[in-house]
Symmetry: C2
Subunit: 363 residues, 2 copies
């Protein structure tokens, strides 16, 4: 077997080693047909079966309520920054979207939405550089709006919503790119949940969109066909050729996740992994966590060291020990350990041990 | 080695076996970094080098003129059915696109464009079910239009443009999904050439767009950010995470193609492959070619047999002999042999031999 590093990259991120091995084994020949999964038609029986089974696994894992639809949409999460306002602003005459500015991607989503109608930022943590999740009370949610938009986990700053806001009849929309399937979540709280697939689900170049059925059909007629959720729904996401490799890989990841005991079991391990790092940081006096304790992400752990010189040495020595891609996002600096579902507890333990030793030598 | 079939599927299609083998070998570990190419950041040095080298290989292979840009765009060819009018209709006050309706995909593109402005179909071969390419004379091209749109190779009906129309100052736009890099083409004839990647270039879920630089910047402000060509140009196609696996596979395919002697050498083999089938069909009295001789595609060879019963037996027996996915598109029926760059001459010979034997037994 290859000598794989522990990959703490924020995305495209590490995939489970067992999944990667299976994909490698059957790369030249999918189910004995003599061709790769990437070389066969999206309208072939073999691919349709795969797509249907991916649906089934996903719906089971997330306990998808009957009145929700699952779409496989082109373009990653950022395409949804456009698709959400295009599809939902027309739900009410106000043509308005509410945004909670809890990080860089929420900010970008709000900017993008301005192309399509009125945008109201109802709360922001920008003034403290997104170190926490703003508080939302029901009176802040204008009931004439088409939707209320949040980023459920902020990859760059390592914060997440622990309790989702109450938005009344206004559908709550969540960008869950960096945490979908990492914790048990009641989908009934949302109108739309979407995720770029390159963090917790598979490779890049695709987004999963979960949408409540009654929210389909509000896109105006000048909507590009492949940005209209109703198109994907009507065609079971096969309007044109989807990213078949990504769907195949997601299928393998969902099979793996089911084998691990599902989302609940995964959440337990994820909590353990995150606690291991946060506890070490909080008791160290050397490392400093970035996010306020009550809003900390269990997927992206952001922290810093006392000074740039130590930080650079930390990143260099970690890299040399097979702890890969720990450098924080350029918007924040410091260290970011992305510990998605695929990161084993063993990898986090290796990082924790490295951190302890590094502190002893340099603290 | 795996027992690979000869895959005549129209797309996602066969990729060169040498490319598939290399991808399989390094699937778990890209260049010794201990992670897969699909598990690393699109902003990492390793990926940026790959992207730059893909650019270089492509530009060399196609002799891309200095004033053209190469973009890697989300969503496959059908997203371009929207992107082309969005980006080019605003080039002139008329907000108008001209379309040549030479097949199903050209027809769909013209329909989609109606969302964004005026569409004028200047010629069509629909009345004879697209068995030829309509003739275009310069006087048919309204010089006030933003662009003139063609499908350079019609995958479903097996026709192609052998000489491209003269459109004066109106930029010619070509959907070359099923033939890019299969024949020597002077890019200077075009304003835009695009191709979904899943036929001659790599796996699905991405499009390459070649655009003359002066055509950037005409998208209206209500354009979804990731449908604006200027966005991709500004960000070197890294606005968000692209389909990194597809780019990696395209890089391998372009390396392979360069090793084969480039587009000119490939065109020679492609002509040989197509001639082998068309000659057999034309001299048989049993098989009937679909496309008119002067407009025949060298990528998709469409033909039929005398009667449904023989057709079904043909497809079944071919499949049993490892000649895969020969069934014609549901819009046409019959047989379609897609013989993209990756299909070796050996595979076409195997098909030709099968056809001869089948005719002897059943003719």
């Amino acid at each position: 077997m290859t000598n794989r590093v522990f990959n703490f990259g924020a995305g495209p991120g590490m995939l489970p080693t067992a999944v990667m091995e299976k994909a490698q084994r059957e790369f030249m020949d999918f189910k004995g047909i003599g061709a790769s999964i990437i070389e066969i038609s999206h309208r072939s029986k073999d691919f349709e079966e795969l797509l249907n089974d991916t649906d089934r696994l996903f719906k089971d894992l997330i306990s998808l309520p009957e009145n929700y639809r699952l779409l496989y949409v082109h373009g990653g999460a950022q395409m949804q920054f456009s698709a959400v306002p295009i599809n939902l602003m027309g739900r009410t005459p106000a043509r308005k979207g509410l945004y909670v500015d809890s990080g860089r991607f929420a900010h970008m989503a709000a900017q993008e939405a301005q192309r399509f109608g009125e945008v109201q930022v109802i709360a922001s943590s920008q003034s403290t550089n997104y170190d926490h999740i703003p508080e939302i009370t029901p009176d802040m949610v204008d009931q004439d709006a088409g939707y209320c938009y949040i980023t459920s986990n902020n990859t760059i700053f390592g914060t997440r919503w622990n309790r989702f806001p109450q938005t009344g009849t206004v559908p709550l929309v969540a960008d869950s790119t960096s945490e979908l399937l990492s914790r048990k979540t009641d989908i009934n709280q949302f109108g739309v949940v979407f995720a770029g697939t390159q963090k917790n689900l598979g490779p890049s170049g695709l987004a999963l969109v979960i949408i409540r059925e009654d929210l389909l059909g509000f896109a105006p007629k000048e909507t590009p066909n492949l940005l209209d959720y109703a198109t994907y729904h009507k065609d079971h996401s096969l309007t044109n050729t989807p990213n078949t490799f990504a769907i195949y890989m997601i299928h393998l990841v969902l099979e793996w996740l089911t084998g691990q005991g599902g989302v609940e079991a995964m959440e337990k391990v994820n909590n353990q992994k995150a606690a291991l790092l946060y506890d070490l940081i909080d008791t160290s006096g050397f490392y400093t966590a970035y996010a306020r304790p009550q809003d900390r992400s269990i997927m992206n752990v952001c922290f810093n060291l006392p000074g740039e010189e130590l930080l650079n040495r930390f990143l260099k020595e970690a890299g040399a020990q097979g702890l890969y891609a720990l450098k924080g996002h350029r918007a924040l600096g410091g260290v970011r350990a992305s510990i998605y579902n695929a990161m084993p507890l063993e990898g986090v333990r290796a990082l924790a041990n490295f951190m302890k030793t590094f502190e002893q030598k340099n603290g």
